[in-house]
Amino acid sequence: MGVRFFGQFLVERNVIKPNELIEAVECQRLRNLKFGQYALSRGYLTEADVQRIQAKQRHLDMLFGEIAVELNVLTQAEVEEILTIQENDHIFIGEALVEKGFLTEDVLERELTLFMAEQSKYVTGEIVIPEGVKNPEVVKDFMDLTRKMLLRIADINVKFGDVCISNKEPQRNFLLVKVPISGGLKYEYATSLSRDISLLVTSKIIGEEIDGGSRELLLDGVKEFCNITCGNITTKMAQRGKVVNISPPQEVVYSQGGYQLINGRSAIYCPFISPKGNILLILIEAED
């Protein structure tokens, strides 16, 4: 298990059936109205206002209500009123399942306790991010989940090294793999691993000791590790309201001129300290 939403946890555990989850999600969709829908229904905004705000929202990292206030189409008091109503009306997936008769209150309470205990392992801890890094909370999530997945998947316990920003290419290592991330956040997530760490990661995923192991197999293992980690990051981002997509992992090949990963851009270097080998996470904010 990794970072996930409660509905999937229940389906995977066979507590509810897939069609029951779909019905409950549909119930949520009908009941949990968006901010703009509330503003429209109360006559605070016109359809044209909503479209204007949504158009601005595509380019700005601002909430709907914040833009509405900035455009003088809503007052702060109206924004707060709508937020309160929205919060009061909100129905969680567990509540929707109980309302539909797919779960009892007792089972919901039991499963929520189990779910919270499982997910508490993935709460982001204290990480120091240098000044000047955009989206520091997002960067913390990337670092923290990478560390947790190293422990969870490969049984490698690491400490954070000093995070820095650089536009230099990374030093040569056994493998360098990147995953393009698109959507609400655009990043390139790259990990540079020594041979020992690559071997450990691959052995643990397969579930048996690998003697030696070809470079091709270890590359596949590291790609799978990056894929799992980034998949869990997309879930964490979804919980933060950012819809992101990941592409299949790709190897960054070392050539005579070195790696061509950073290409003069600004990259966040996050080293992980482990006695088992070296691990470096590199995050590059991709351009539109």
Partner: protein, 120 residues
């Protein structure tokens, strides 16, 4: 008789892991594996497995497209999505809407895979 399982995942390592878990269970047998959605559809048609374990993020054709195509070929197909993206509500619910019988998120416990397959 053991139930036949087709694994669709672009990672050789992930396939090895699933093969070991599934074959060791004693209830199922992996009869083939495909490294993308297109191969998965072709192998489904030729092998007619009882169960398909389908990854979502794959090159050429992703798991959701392959899932839809297999379900349109055989409405009784039993497909379980096993993916790192299964924790994202939209992806998971979309897969279930297209007919997946369950969704398992990576990383997973071996018992979870066996228990979900047994429950089909």
């Amino acid at each position: 008789m053991k139930k036949k399982v087709l694994v669709v995942d672009d990672s050789v390592v992930a396939v090895s892991q699933l093969k070991r878990i599934i074959n060791d269970s004693g209830f199922f047998e992996v009869v083939g594996h495909a490294k993308n959605g297109i191969e998965g559809i072709k192998l489904y048609a030729s092998l007619r497995p009882d169960i398909v374990c389908m990854d979502l993020i794959m090159p050429e054709m992703d798991g959701l497209q392959a899932l839809r195509t297999i379900m349109s070929m055989d409405k009784d197909a039993k497909i379980v999505v096993i993916s790192s993206a299964a924790g994202v509500e939209e992806k998971s619910v979309e897969a279930l809407r297209f007919g997946a019988k369950n969704v398992i998120q990576k990383p997973f416990e071996p018992e979870t895979v066996v228990s979900v397959l047994k429950g089909l």
